[in-house]
């Protein structure tokens, strides 16, 4: 399981975490990606990085399904605190409560966070 708690663009972690998720999927691992806290910002639509002159990697989240990464979890409380709804997101996600997410975490073999 890959846990993403950081906003995109301000630091490189979101971008490099996405690379690991894709590589992990290529290894036929049972991959799940979690977005909570500021990590939910990674999935916001309409990101346009031309002004800051960096790569717009947000489109790559749409490719996750092609790599059979279909377990994308997002925490409800994190979304609500940031004034966002599912309609604001780039990809379909499974929305979980904090306790549901805690349960999923506890079932993992490996958790990577960046």
């Amino acid at each position: 399981m890959y846990v993403n708690r950081k906003a995109p663009h301000g630091t490189i972690y979101a971008f490099e975490s996405l690379e690991v998720v894709l590589i992990g999927a290529a290894f036929n691992q049972d991959v799940s990606a979690v977005f909570l806290d500021d990590g939910v910002y990674q999935l916001v639509k309409n990101q346009d990085t031309r002004g800051i002159e960096t790569k717009n990697f947000s489109r790559t989240y749409r490719a996750l399904a092609d790599y059979d990464v279909d377990k994308i979890y997002l925490e409800r409380g994190s979304l609500e605190a940031r004034g966002l709804t599912e309609a604001d997101l780039l990809v379909p996600v499974q929305i979980l409560s904090a306790q549901e997410l805690a349960q999923r975490m506890a079932e993992q073999d490996v958790i990577l966070s960046f």
Partner: protein
């Protein structure tokens, strides 16, 4: 009059909160990088920024807002500037403090 810059999300770090506790009347606060999330409406932090706007001028960097896809969710009254506008704010204010 002072210029305060903040480059961190108000949800992850205490930089914006601490900044708003140390501004004097009429100062300018510029949100850049992940700091622009502090300029969004409808968040758990919005009311604190709205309250501060009675006392200080709040600006946010347009390029950082667009990079994060939140261009339609910015609080009314937040002034949008580009990098040139950032330079102008620095030229017009003194001292400048970065809340790292």
């Amino acid at each position: 009059m002072m210029l305060h810059t903040i480059n961190k999300s108000p949800f992850e770090r205490n930089a914006l909160k601490s900044c708003l506790e140390h501004v004097t009347e009429g100062a300018a606060v510029l949100l850049i990088e992940d700091g622009v999330y502090g300029a969004m409406k409808g968040t758990h932090f919005t009311s604190q920024v709205e309250k501060a706007m009675a006392k200080v001028h709040v600006y946010a960097l347009r390029q950082d807002i667009e990079a994060r896809g939140i261009q339609d969710k910015i609080l009314d009254g937040v002034g949008l500037v580009d990098y040139g506008g950032f330079v102008d704010l620095v030229a017009e204010h003194s001292p400048v403090i970065a809340w790292l």
